[in-house]
């Protein structure tokens, strides 16, 4: 089943899905597993596993540090794929690779996609790979049944949104505001208008991310978007209060 069908099926019993995020190897793979356990309990639908990179220029401070610490711990691309295989074998949610294009480029596009497929991943998010540079990777992905997740942003023109829509598969990641990950987004008319603009260009499900941090954000998104994408807020909860606080965070978040 493709990612789009999976999302549509899950939406039959839920008004808003959740995609969560962990940085592989930070603070450790054991801790990652414990976080994912909590996410699965909370009924998270999709998880992005970030492969750490030394120059995470699209990430905010908390993820920057997480990338850095993970690499200091010696995390390799191989470790990340092995971890992904363990995760997809154990949990019901679907898994995406998130990272930077150099990780893919150094491994070789085909090798990367084959390993992603073998580890049970369904697609990938590469924020520094624009569609102009993604031709060969997207073509190979289509052959292998893997899905590139495309970002639509508040600065895109309608013409550009149409181009992005043509490349998008699975779902579209709507970036709620300018800036990097991490700081709070004021949910309001701007976000609604952006989601409506994206909707006009694609029939794919829409996930909204950047700054989603609590139940009120979720309430706002219900009816506008198909999925909420939660990153920094969850990592912050884990850093502040470990498993207990993360569990609390997700149970607050998904409480209807």
């Amino acid at each position: 089943m493709g990612l789009q069908s999976y999302i549509e099926q899950r939406k039959a019993d839920k008004s808003l899905l959740v995609m969560a995020h962990v940085v592989c190897g930070y603070p450790s793979f054991e801790a990652n597993m414990a976080e994912l356990e909590i996410m699965a309990e909370a009924g998270v639908d999709l998880v992005e596993l970030q492969f750490p990179f030394s120059e995470p220029s699209a990430d905010g401070p908390l993820f920057v540090r997480a990338n850095e610490m993970s690499l200091q711990n010696g995390t390799t691309v191989n470790d990340c794929f092995e971890f992904m295989a363990a995760v997809t074998a154990r949990f019901p949610f679907k898994v995406l690779m998130m990272g930077y294009y150099n990780t893919v480029f150094k491994l070789g596009e085909e090798q990367f996609l084959r390993r992603l497929k073998a580890a049970g991943g369904v697609g990938y998010i590469l924020p520094d790979l624009p569609i102009e540079e993604a031709g060969s990777l997207h073509a190979l992905s289509a052959e292998l049944g893997l899905e590139p997740i495309i970002l639509m942003t508040p600065t895109n023109s309608d013409e550009r949104l149409a181009q992005l829509a043509a490349a998008a598969r699975g779902f579209v990641y709507v970036v709620a505001r300018k800036g990097v990950t991490g700081s709070k987004t004021q949910m309001g008319d701007d976000v609604a208008a952006l989601v409506a603009r994206c909707r006009a260009h694609t029939d794919l499900p829409l996930g909204v991310g950047f700054g989603i941090s609590d139940r009120s954000d979720m309430e706002y998104l219900r009816g506008h978007a198909d999925m909420a994408i939660v990153g920094t807020a969850a990592l912050r909860a884990w850093e502040q209060g470990g498993a207990e606080q993360l569990r609390q965070f997700f149970s607050d978040l998904v409480a209807a």
Binding site: P52, F53, S54, E55, P56, S57, A58, G60, P61, V64, R65, E68, L71, T76, V77, Y100, Y101, N102, T103, F105, K106, L107, P127, D128, L129, P130, E132, E133, I150, L151, M152, T153, P154, T155, N156, S157, R160, L164, V175, K178, G179, V180
Partner: protein, 418 residues
């Protein structure tokens, strides 16, 4: 040779190097920049305004000096120096910065941001922002802030805000990441004044274009002063802007071009920043473009080292990578020790004080000049001067009298506080 004619190939590519690898949120901003740049480049009044400003504000054209003593001392080729050190703020960086400042006005933006390593580019950007009435924020790795206090002092006194970046190695590449993060947030009113000919298209082309004023002048001056073109040109290469600047004047001539990188502790030491002269770098994509990077097999960037903060960078200008591959530019590296010796020799024989970055080019020219004929000519691009970097140079030369002076001063400040 027109490197910037993309009509038959991919826009912004030089061979397989260059391109644009940025988050989607910047797509519109970079397009706007590219369009504005294309307009400026095809508008002769823009270049005329740029040249006039460089004359009135920065003292262009910078002269070419014959180093008769050093040439005689080495007993080989005649060595000439293009004096970019005589620019306002002490280096070639001002050429790029004034150009981008004029462009920023055309873009209608009111704020500039920049990264800086040695502080030279930050200093030049702060100067331009003060002159053009722009708000200015400079990102600088915390390690560099600590080793370049004098430049930070000047930037702050010109009204710029200097942000010490605490991520990663806390040096130039981390400052670039942080400037990118500012840009993805504030692009509506902010122009990113990238300091070297790296990063996403159109920056390599744009920075090279502003720096081409160096090569244009140098070619005419050499013909006038020596009646002929030089046999070899040496330039230091950090990101590649001063080298591209001078080399562009001679691409269609029979002149050997030599890029001099930071050899640090030498080949095999891993403590260096030589991307092309040593065998440690490989092709990758980071900081918005594709080129040779000093990275590991996982694609994560390595730590780099140089005695000169301005050469201490993981990547290299994509045009130079391409020209190197085509055997059109030769690459060498000077070690920290060679640089120290070359600096001492240049000061004693000529009374010139090249920046530590620049001295890498001097070191290689000094090494090769003796084996050249007396009727042959070397031209070195003196990208900057070191007199204002006295703290860094005194430390590099391990000067005991200087250290005593600093201790005395520190004690005096301590006492005043009590």
């Amino acid at each position: 040779m027109n490197l910037f004619d993309f009509s038959n190939g991919k826009e912004g590519y030089y061979g397989q190097y260059g391109g644009v690898f940025l988050p989607e949120i910047l797509q519109a901003t970079v397009n706007e920049l590219l369009e504005c740049f294309r307009q400026c480049k095809s508008d002769p009044t823009f270049w005329a305004e740029f040249v006039e400003l460089m004359q009135n504000y920065s003292g262009r054209p910078t002269p070419i000096t014959h180093m008769a003593n050093l040439s005689a001392h080495l007993g080989g080729a005649q060595i000439y120096v293009k004096r970019e050190d005589l620019n306002h703020t002490g280096s070639h960086k001002i050429n790029n910065v004034i150009g981008q400042g004029l462009l920023c006005k055309r873009l209608g933006k009111s704020r500039v941001i920049a990264e800086t390593g040695a502080g030279q580019h930050g200093f030049a950007t702060a100067t331009m922002a003060a002159k053009f009435g722009l708000d200015c924020t400079i990102y600088m790795g915390a390690v560099d802030v600590a080793r370049q206090r004098p430049n930070v002092f000047w930037m702050e006194n010109m009204g710029a805000q200097v942000v010490a970046v605490q991520d990663g190695q806390k040096t130039l590449k981390d400052a670039i990441n942080e400037a990118m993060r500012d840009w993805v947030t504030n692009m509506a009113d902010t122009h990113y004044v990238l300091g070297t000919a790296c990063g996403p298209h159109p920056f390599p082309e744009m920075v090279s274009w502003f720096q081409s004023i160096v090569g244009q002048e140098a070619r005419a001056q050499m013909l006038e002063q020596t009646g002929r073109l030089p046999d070899r040109i040496y330039a230091c290469v950090g990101g590649g802007s001063n080298a591209m600047g001078i080399f562009q004047g001679f691409f269609d001539d029979d002149v050997e071009l030599i890029g001099c990188e930071a050899g640090g502790h030498g080949a095999g030491s891993s403590l260096h920043a030589a991307r092309l002269a040593y065998n440690d770098a490989s092709v990758g994509i980071a900081q918005g473009f594709k080129t040779y990077f000093l990275q590991n097999d996982q694609g994560n960037m390595n730590e780099t080292h140089s005695i000169a903060a301005g050469l201490d960078y993981i990547g290299i200008n994509p045009i130079l990578a391409y020209l190197w591959e085509q055997d059109k530019v030769r690459f060498l590296a000077a070690t920290d020790d060679e640089v120290r010796e070359a600096l001492k020799l240049t000061m004693r024989t000529e009374g010139l004080i090249p920046a530590l970055e620049t001295t890498h080019a001097f070191a290689k020219a000094i090494e090769e000049a003796p084996s050249m004929g007396k009727d042959e000519i070397i031209l070195i691009n003196q990208s900057g001067r070191a007199d204002k970097d006295i703290f860094t140079v005194a430390e590099a030369l391990d000067d005991n009298k200087w250290k005593e002076f600093i201790k005395t001063k520190a004690a005096q400040y301590q006492q005043e506080r009590q």
